[in-house]
């Protein structure tokens, strides 16, 4: 396992290094698909400059990272000013590789949990972590995001660490990383439910409202989570000695004032909307992200890891400033579900649509912005199609997962009452 992994690392780092040296390195950070106002490196640099001048980095409405991030980069830049770019790359990718490497431990953990008529042989299981790492590191989306020095890579790193700690069963670390992820971008809040469910499962505590042990653990985990979140927020306050960051980070995420086109669904909708409906629809759109937690947690309460995947996918589709880096995170999970492959119905269609959309983004952007011959409707049409394809992908996996569960309990060969072969239809 070590040899292919090293090879993979070398390949991944080489690709990024080559791209950093090429002329694309200046082009990619300008692409709206790759960077958002939240995580553009240009803005981090601006924030750092303001910080160095002794001005609040949030003055001027350019910088929207959390205080801890800016101090992190400040620290890094102090240490290695020349290697700043290299460092970001390291942070962006090698860092990621580090825990991707650990992620295979995560996957290996998973497998006793996979039950019964093991469709997956241990040999297949053995390669899954490598495939996950490969899917993440060699995914063009991740590469683009890394070359653009988008801080999205850091957020992905935090979420991945959270998953690792959760799977390892360390509830304190899991709570801390979850709090960190929430602190970074609010939305990972929805991962609280699956993490709790998983930890409960690991401790053999049934989800039962009457049991005191359930309540005890839930309170304990909530307390750890809220406590660390509180510590981080207070730390930010003491670092900057102002509460500015609350409105310019979380306010910025939630109220979506920046309508620069991106691959998400917000910008066009809110650019078109009358001002007095804005608040209402912002509430609707934002609740949309969080709402799925409840039905999904009920349906998938036995399968928290899959629930985590679903949640991450939903966040990256419906969040206010999505980039391709977010998509890469949930796509890295796909090899872990390769046993669902035979139950997938639209995977080919969906992957073709995703590919076509990815190539059409720059084309339509060119027509709109540079040639001036197309307009924003063209670009938004592709955004819509891209998101529909993602939703189809996720729901396809969801359906396949449920169907596999069904087959695991009822047997692979379903018979109708009259003995003929039955088919399962989703209606």
């Amino acid at each position: 396992m070590a040899a292919p992994l090293t090879l993979l690392l070398i390949v991944a780092v080489t690709i990024r290094a080559v791209l950093f040296r090429s002329s694309l390195a200046e082009l990619i950070p300008e692409r709206v698909e790759v960077v958002s106002p939240l995580n553009a490196w240009k803005r981090v640099v601006e924030g750092l400059a303001l910080l160095d001048l002794g001005v609040s980095p949030y003055a001027g409405d350019v910088f929207h990272e959390t205080p801890l991030i800016i101090y992190f980069f400040h620290f890094v830049s102090d240490y290695a000013e020349i290697v700043f770019m290299v460092m970001t790359r390291l942070v962006g990718c090698v860092f990621l590789l580090q825990f991707r490497k650990q992620k295979y431990a995560l996957e290996a953990e998973r497998y006793p949990l996979d039950c019964l008529e093991l469709i997956r042989t241990p040999k297949e299981m053995y390669y899954i972590p490598l495939k996950v790492a490969m899917f993440y590191l060699l995914n063009p989306f991740t590469i683009l995001s890394c070359v653009a020095k988008s801080t999205c890579g850091l957020n992905n790193a935090v979420i991945a660490l959270f998953i690792l700690c959760t799977v390892k069963g360390s509830s304190l670390m899991s709570a801390i990383f979850l709090a960190l992820a929430t602190y970074q971008s609010i939305y990972p809040l929805t991962l609280f439910a699956p993490a709790l469910l998983y930890l409960l499962q690991r401790l053999y505590i049934p989800v039962n409202w009457q049991r005191s042990s359930f309540w005890l653990f839930t309170t304990q985990y909530t307390f750890m989570y809220l406590g660390s979140l509180c510590v981080m927020v207070c730390l930010s306050f003491f670092l900057l000695s102002s509460w500015d960051f609350l409105s310019s980070v979380y306010g910025f995420i939630l109220s979506v004032p920046d309508l620069t086109p991106n691959i998400g669904l917000f910008w066009y909708f809110f650019a078109e909307m009358f001002e007095h409906f804005r608040l209402f629809f912002i509430c609707v759109f934002q609740i949309n992200v969080f709402f799925y937690t409840i039905p999904l947690s009920i349906k998938l309460k036995e399968h928290p890891i899959f629930l985590i995947f679903m949640q991450i996918a939903i966040i990256s589709i419906f969040k206010s400033y999505p980039t391709v880096g977010d998509i890469a995170l949930y796509m890295a999970f796909l090899p872990a579900w390769n046993h669902l492959y035979r139950f997938l119905r639209n995977i080919f269609l969906v992957s073709v649509v995703l590919l076509a959309c990815s190539t059409l983004f720059p084309v339509l952007w060119h027509l709109w912005i540079y040639a001036g011959s197309a307009n924003s409707n063209f670009y938004y049409a592709i955004t819509l199609l891209f998101n529909v394809a993602q939703i189809l992908l996720v729901s396809d996996y969801f359906y396949a997962y449920l169907r596999r569960e069904h087959h695991l309990t009822h047997g692979l060969y379903l018979k109708r009452k009259d003995g003929s072969e039955a088919t399962l239809v989703l209606k």
Partner: protein, 614 residues
């Protein structure tokens, strides 16, 4: 969603599509071609109309009186040009200054990657002269451009004369709300490129030019004037710009409206409009006009000096005076009035031209076909690729009976990534060679063979193109022994999807190019298998390859322009078209050459590979 989730219905549909695959594909192809040809039929087209309010409702009165004086200035210009043996910079500066303009010059040098034999230039050195008429009535934030090229020999002297005459006349008028820039550019597009890059502070193609000393506001529209005789019979409007970009249709409407008003004969693609659309000859006339536009657009090169403006979001067109043997003549005063009228209307613009269409084809100057009408023609061709993909999927077994129950899942013998990846990589390497080597190796070729640099470049390109056919196309046998049935199917699947995405993107940017490529590549992509008769299929594939398509286009273009050429001349023309394509890419950043070399050609090689799959 029923179709996506109900396996029974899906299976029925898939079955139907697979069984009827070949007839449906043929039908689609014929329908696509028929649709395209139908676009020139007048009842299917729309009449042009002015969408821009600021230019539509207001009337202007044209009073330009000084046609004769303009011609005299033109003659003076010609004399000075002859004396200096190039651009008479000092005379132009003096004359423009005496007409009350702020005058500036810009010098530029440019070394071409290889000598341009059509225009006989290699090291280009020149000067642009431009004068700015400052707007008396507005804060000078916007500008209009009128340009005339200073050409070799006796061409375009009248255009420069008229330009100076208009400058003098415009100076005396008070209603200008936009700066008007009068530009005389040397070395046609190279000078124009230098000036535009200087104006916008960009440098996309590595030219060397001095910075501009004076600027107007942001340029809203530009016209380029070409006039080589004292009287003309008609004015020709040229729209096609770099990479097939077209100006907003309102600019063409404006030109047409004024031609109608003033009573000047106007043409597009050098073809007059005819009223007998219901006769065969009337239809074929319209079809020829449209085909000429399609071919010009597909070539991706600027067909007039206006072509580079479009890149900067500036609506621009060239107006070319044509003097033929027709009796009815128009004098320079009338052309001056026409231009005055157009500039007065453009002066009224409140925002950039954006109301009307940007994607259109014109079967005549008063008729147009918008994107919604012509895209289905391309769509019908693209559907064939998707149908073939579906068909292959059924064969390869990605969609198959396991939709119904997972029990009958047959594991397709996966052909392995390497056997697919190798041909893809080899094809693309050939493409890269085709793109880079011709220019890199010209010196070596000149040393070893008795050819000129230009010939060396073109012949190297053709040699690499042909050599691509002989590449080792069966690398998968080295890797895995015999190539399997699954192997070529998966390769074809990849090639089809690649081609579909590629053609789709091309058609969005440049419909004509996408359509012509689809016309030749889709049939071979659809029906190529290793089991068809080798010699015949190979011949068909070569005949429909991108290079041969280009050759046919050259002949068709000459035929449509009513200057048919012999085979020998056609071949020479073909060679010069290739060299021009490479030059256009190097000088102005035209994308057709890299597109063909780096993407289309490798894709065609993949299909070639499938034919010889063993």
């Amino acid at each position: 969603m029923g179709l996506l989730s109900d396996p029974n219905r899906r299976r029925a549909l898939t079955k139907l599509l697979t069984r009827l695959n070949a007839p449906i594909c043929v039908m689609c192809y014929l329908a696509g071609v028929a649709w395209f040809m139908g676009l020139a039929f007048e009842p299917f087209t729309l009449r042009t109309y002015m969408s821009e309010n600021a230019m539509g409702s207001t009337m202007v009165e044209e009073r330009f009186p000084a046609g004769e004086r303009a011609l005299a200035t033109g003659r003076e210009f010609a004399a000075h040009k002859k004396k200096v043996g190039g651009m008479p910079v000092d005379w132009l500066v003096k004359t423009m200054q005496s007409r009350g303009l702020e005058v500036f010059t810009q010098s530029f040098t440019r070394k071409l990657p290889f000598p341009d034999e059509n225009k006989e230039r290699y090291m280009v050195r020149g000067t642009n002269v431009y004068g700015i008429l400052r707007a008396p009535r507005a804060p000078r934030t916007e500008a209009l451009v009128l340009s005339a090229p200073c050409s070799e020999g006796n061409n375009n002297n009248q255009a420069v004369g008229l330009l100076l005459g208009l400058a003098q006349y415009f100076r005396s008028q008070i209603h200008w709300a936009k700066d008007i820039i009068f530009l005389v550019n040397e070395h046609d597009l190279i000078g124009m490129q230098a000036w535009l890059e200087g104006y916008h502070h960009t440098n996309t193609t590595g030219g060397d030019w001095s910075p501009l000393q004076g600027r107007g506001g942001s340029i809203q529209a530009a016209l380029s004037l070409e006039l080589s005789s004292d009287v003309i019979t008609s004015l020709d409007l040229v729209l096609e710009g770099l990479n097939g970009q077209l100006p907003n249709l309102d600019l063409a409407n404006l030109f047409y409206a004024f031609c109608q008003k003033i009573g000047v004969l106007c043409t597009i693609q050098g073809k007059l409009q005819r009223n007998d659309w219901d006769t065969t000859s009337g239809y074929s006339h319209a079809a020829q006009t449209m085909m000429l536009m399609v071919l010009k657009q597909a070539s991706g090169r600027p067909w007039g000096d206006h072509g580079l403006f479009l890149r900067y979001h500036i609506e621009a067109a060239s107006i070319r005076g044509i003097n033929s043997f027709r009796q009815y003549k128009t004098d320079t005063t009338t052309i001056g009035r026409l231009l005055e009228g157009m500039y007065r209307k453009l002066n009224n613009l409140l925002e950039r031209l954006h109301q009307s269409y940007f994607f259109y084809l014109m079967p005549s100057l008063s008729r147009f076909v918008s994107i919604g009408y012509y895209m289905p023609a391309f769509g019908l061709l693209a559907v064939i690729l998707l149908l073939q993909v579906l068909n292959l999927l059924v064969y390869v077994g990605i969609i198959d009976s396991f939709l119904l129950s997972p029990s009958v899942l047959h594991q397709p013998s996966s052909p392995g990534v390497l056997s697919i990846l190798t041909p893809v990589v080899i094809s693309h390497m050939t493409g890269v060679a085709l793109y880079t080597l011709p220019i890199l190796s010209q010196e070596m070729a000149v040393q070893h063979f008795p050819v000129s640099e230009t010939e060396a470049v073109v012949l190297t390109a053709i040699a690499i193109y042909t050599a691509g056919l002989a590449l080792p196309h069966n690398t998968h046998r080295l890797l895995q022994g015999e190539g399997t049935e699954e192997g070529w199917r998966v390769l074809k699947l990849v090639a089809l999807l690649y081609l579909a995405v590629l053609l789709g993107c091309t058609a969005l940017i440049n419909f004509s190019l996408g359509f012509i490529l689809a016309l030749s590549l889709v049939p071979i992509a659809a029906f190529i298998t290793p089991h068809t008769p080798k010699a015949l299929s190979a011949a068909i594939m070569v005949l429909l390859s991108p290079g041969c398509t280009l050759l046919y286009c050259v002949f068709v273009f000459q035929e449509l322009q009513e200057t048919p050429v012999s085979l020998q001349d056609g071949w020479m023309l073909f060679l010069s078209v290739i060299s021009q394509g490479i030059l256009d890419h190097a000088l102005y950043g035209s994308l057709v050459y890299p597109l063909l070399a780096l993407l289309i050609y490798p894709c065609w090689l993949l299909l070639w590979n499938i034919l010889f799959w063993k």
